[in-house]
């Protein structure tokens, strides 16, 4: 009998060099790199305005709802679907919050909870048709987009409703107060930054040690160090800048927690794994005992809740609900996910990618506004960047 094992038959694995590793993992690093290049570009052409603490804070506030929705949209797209209705849900939930607090006298906490539930219910209503009736999500959410755009108008009676109680405004305009009582410098912000860097480094070292112990292919140590150091410097520098202004916005913290949560869910949990399998091959997933319908349904419920949250944050930021709120947000969100490397046919995409994609869109919006480029050409440029990013990705994958 031939007793060779598969390990002996395989080609011996060479020690991966820097260049090779970067080449094979280009897609992972490429996106982050392009974000940095875009930021650098705008930093230069705006004479340093982009990274001023005030503007940086604005950038985070302006982008938070896109990032939050991109997390949900990523799951929807990975599952092989699309949700065109999120912009309308933002408007509707914002309007509902305004009516509840301003007209009907509910307190912010009750309103927030109710609005998140309503968001989830809207997602459920749409997910039901997609998952159990097999109506294409494109159609269902296109219908949803029209329905909720109309309902927003009806709800608000075509008028803007505001302003909100101060407690609710804090959701968007509040900052984490300084526990250390610094004057003009928010030590808490810096502290949180350093603490999260420490946590990130601890976990990445631990997982690397684990990988080495089990002989998994790992990034070369130099590259690993470089990556962690770069991340640490970026986070700390960012927090330092924020500390010199008013500290970390509440929204930023919500956003960071959600990003960490969704990254964990997609990478490490069974439900995440199943969503990828569902998008990759629905029939095979089903025959592997995965409840594909329920999973599809749940991704839409999740999307609805996150769109509701985004609606609340957006309304709080404007301090008024208008019938036009959320208009066209779905385009930015979907673009962010695709720029981040998700595949339109499902099964492929990463949380980090979607977040980076959202920031690419955000930085461009912000930078071009500073430069005074009109909304007309902003759209042209954003469209071209989307096309370029995805083409590059497709090209890279073919190689």
């Amino acid at each position: 009998m031939d007793t060779r094992t598969a390990d002996e038959i395989q080609v011996p694995q060479q020690k991966t060099s820097w260049m090779e590793f970067v080449k094979t993992h280009f897609r992972d690093y490429g996106m982050l790199l392009s974000l940095l290049v875009i930021m650098l570009f705008f930093q230069v052409v705006t004479d340093g305005t982009l990274l001023r603490p005030l503007n940086l804070t604005n950038l985070v506030l302006q982008n938070s709802y896109i990032v939050i929705m991109a997390l949900g949209m990523l799951l929807v797209i990975v599952a092989g679907h699309i949700d065109l209705s999120v912009g309308s849900i933002v408007g509707f939930v914002g309007g509902l919050a305004a009516m509840m607090m301003v007209r009907w006298g509910f307190d912010p906490v009750t309103t927030t909870i109710a609005c998140l539930i309503v968001g989830g219910m809207i997602g459920a209503a749409q997910g039901y048709w997609v998952a159990y009736f097999k109506v294409p999500s494109f159609i269902v959410t296109l219908a949803g987009m029209l329905v909720f755009k109309g309902l927003t108008l009806a709800l608000l009676g075509g008028m803007s409703v505001g302003p909100f109680p101060v407690g609710f405004q804090r959701l968007s305009s509040g900052f984490i107060p300084d526990m250390f009582g610094g004057e003009g410098f928010n030590y808490t912000a810096l502290f949180l930054g350093v603490a999260s860097v420490a946590a990130i480094i601890y976990f990445s070292f631990r997982s690397r040690a684990n990988q080495l112990k089990h002989a998994v292919e790992t990034a070369p140590f130099g590259l690993f160090l470089f990556k962690n150091a770069l991340l640490a410097v970026l986070v700390v520098a960012f927090c330092y800048l924020m500390a010199t202004y008013r500290g970390l916005p509440n929204v930023l913290v919500i956003m960071a927690v959600l990003i960490a949560l969704y990254a964990f869910v997609t990478n490490r949990t069974t439900i995440g794994r199943r969503i990828y399998a569902l998008g990759g091959n629905e029939k095979a997933a089903k025959l592997s005992g995965i409840k594909t319908e329920r999973l599809t349904f749940l991704t839409f419920v999740n999307m609805g809740v996150l769109a509701g949250l985004a609606g609340l944050i957006f309304a709080a930021r404007l301090n008024t609900a208008t019938p036009k709120a959320g208009l066209g947000f779905e385009l930015d969100v979907i673009a962010a996910v695709f720029i981040g490397g998700a595949s339109a046919t499902g099964g492929v995409g990463k949380v980090t990618g979607a977040v980076i994609g959202a920031f690419v869109m955000g930085v461009m919006n912000n930078g071009m506004s500073i430069l005074g480029i009109g909304i007309d050409y902003q759209q042209v440029i954003k469209g071209l960047v989307l096309l370029a990013a995805v083409s590059l990705d497709v090209y890279n994958r073919k190689k």
């Binding site: 694995q13 490490r268 069974t270 091959n281 005992g289």
Partner: protein, 509 residues
């Protein structure tokens, strides 16, 4: 006789894998040249190099065809010169008609306007040539695999073929269809068409091949000339695996116990035509430690039966009783069937078996994530250990378990599907054509694993169109025809003749 094709020193690497290493092959004009080798030996890759799927520049070495060196930059180039390849996985458009498929990309058109009467007339001639009695406007979805295969060949013929390449054309055909196809090849040979035939069915190769090139681990081992002397199957196997194999089926002393699995009055109707009963009152049982086979012709309803049983994955109006260890169990959804200890490894790995864009590791654990997770959180390291374990147990040929399933050779994909179900640790394992497209050596290993499962007191239900396989592996064989079980044979009394006899007899009724 001079050579129509010579491939010299072909080397092709994929990231991390050297799929072909200095391969040489010479095909003489007007011969049937067989290409054999284990799963992942590089047969399909070599043919993709030849036909331009992998263009010149992506491999090293040279291709001399009809006396000239050729550098194909795509399939169109090789097709122009009469090299036509029929891939391992069929490539027809299901919702187009036979005629539309045959002339796809080669439309009978003037100024872009298709002349359907010409196309239909030509299609009719081609279908007659390959012996397919179907109307040219029949849709591909309505044809069985065997007929689809013939359409592929008709398509090849429509292109003035000189060198026909067939990659495992008979893998999913029954014996009759296979024979028809092989006879077709012999007829082509008389007309001067050369062909290259890849197959794991060595009896077919002995039957039609004029010469045989053996690949192993990406290199040429030898070329055998069948004209000079007749080459035995054992001789071919020796070349393929580098050793002699005494037995095709591992020996086993069956230790059969009480009945553990029972299906009573199982019926199912066609998913679209609710009056068509596809599975008719099936009653069967499996005892502890027993391997039970279901024989039958292609289209006998065996897959439909198995899939309707496994979480109602096929058909409608399903009725019947299933019990395990004497207790009735609920198999109304796949999830329930799996958690009640039933597993079904599909015959159609690409459509129903694998998530192609995911790596081996994720595919192996997909049906039993609970086995590698705690509180819904997956333990990466444990998962990796499981995947590596199956990789070596099943001898999955890959650079590592992070390789995407889409990049595996056909046979190795099949092993991944089997691993997935073995890992779910079932009480009853239903195998649908478990060794389709798998080489002789690996078959032996898969048989060993099936035997081990039976010896551990589980029950195995094996559906196969290869009767020798059923006769070599099973303890008892049911015969199915047109959706009903028509005979039950103990292995001691079973034979190919008896099975065929039962089928023919029931067909006459």
């Amino acid at each position: 006789m001079n050579a129509i094709l010579e491939m010299r020193g072909i080397t092709k690497t994929f990231p991390g894998v050297k799929a072909l290493d200095n391969v040489n092959i010479t095909v003489k004009a007007g011969e049937i040249h067989a290409l054999v080798g284990e799963n992942g030996a590089g047969k399909s890759t070599l043919m993709k190099v030849l036909s331009g799927v992998y263009p010149h520049g992506s491999y090293s070495g040279e291709i001399v065809y009809e006396g000239q060196e050729r550098r194909f930059s795509g399939i169109a180039d090789s097709e122009k010169l009469g090299i036509i390849i029929i891939h391992q996985e069929l490539a027809l458009v299901p919702l187009l008609s036979i005629a539309e498929n045959i002339f796809l990309g080669n439309e009978q058109a003037q100024f872009g306007v298709i002349d359907w009467s010409v196309a239909f007339a030509k299609t009719k001639d081609l279908l007659k040539l390959v012996g397919l009695k179907e109307s040219p406007d029949e849709l591909i979805t309505n044809l069985g695999v065997g007929k689809q295969q013939l359409v592929e060949i008709a398509k090849a013929l429509s292109k003035k073929v000189k060198l026909l390449i067939l990659d495992e054309p008979t893998a999913s055909l029954n014996e009759k269809d296979s024979d028809a196809l092989l006879n077709l090849l012999l007829r082509f040979k008389e007309q001067g068409i050369s062909s290259i035939l890849i197959s794991h069915k060595l009896n077919e190769i002995s039957k039609v091949a004029d010469s045989i090139t053996v690949l192993r681990d990406g290199g040429t081992v030898e070329t055998l000339d069948c004209r000079a002397e007749s080459i035995s199957e054992d001789r071919i196997i020796r070349g393929m695996v580098g050793r002699t194999m005494e037995d095709r089926y591992p020996k086993r002393e069956p230790k059969i116990g009480e009945t553990i699995f029972q299906v009573e009055n199982w019926s199912a109707y066609h998913p679209l035509h609710s009056h068509m009963q596809v599975v008719k009152n099936v009653n069967l049982n499996i005892r502890r430690g027993e391997i039970v086979g279901i024989a039958g012709l292609m289209g006998a309803g065996r897959t439909e039966f198995a899939m309707s049983l496994f979480g109602r994955s096929y058909g409608q109006n399903i009725s019947g009783r299933v019990s395990l260890h004497g207790k009735e169990i609920d198999v109304s959804t796949v999830e329930k069937a799996v958690s009640n200890g039933i597993a079904y490894a599909t015959e159609d790995r690409k459509t129903y078996g694998l998530v192609l864009a995911e790596d081996i590791r994720k595919n192996v654990t997909l049906a039993h994530l609970e086995g590698v997770s705690k509180n819904l959180v997956i333990d990466d390291i444990q998962e990796l250990a499981v995947a590596n374990d199956y990789r070596s147990k099943m001898r999955i040929r890959c650079s590592n378990v992070f390789q995407e399933a889409v990049n595996l050779s056909g046979g190795n994909q099949q092993k991944v599907v089997l691993s997935k179900w073995l890992f779910s640790d079932p009480e009853i394992l239903i195998l649908d054509e478990p060794t389709r497209g798998i080489d002789v050596g690996a078959k032996y290993e898969i048989y060993t694993i099936i035997n081990r499962l039976a010896d551990a007191g589980k029950g195995v239900l094996m559906i196969s169109s290869e009767m020798p396989e059923l006769l070599g592996m099973c303890d008892r064989i049911y015969v199915m025809n047109e959706g009903s079980l028509i005979a039950e044979l103990d292995i001691a009394e079973a034979s190919q003749e008896k099975i065929m006899h039962a089928i023919v007899k029931s067909g006459r009724r």
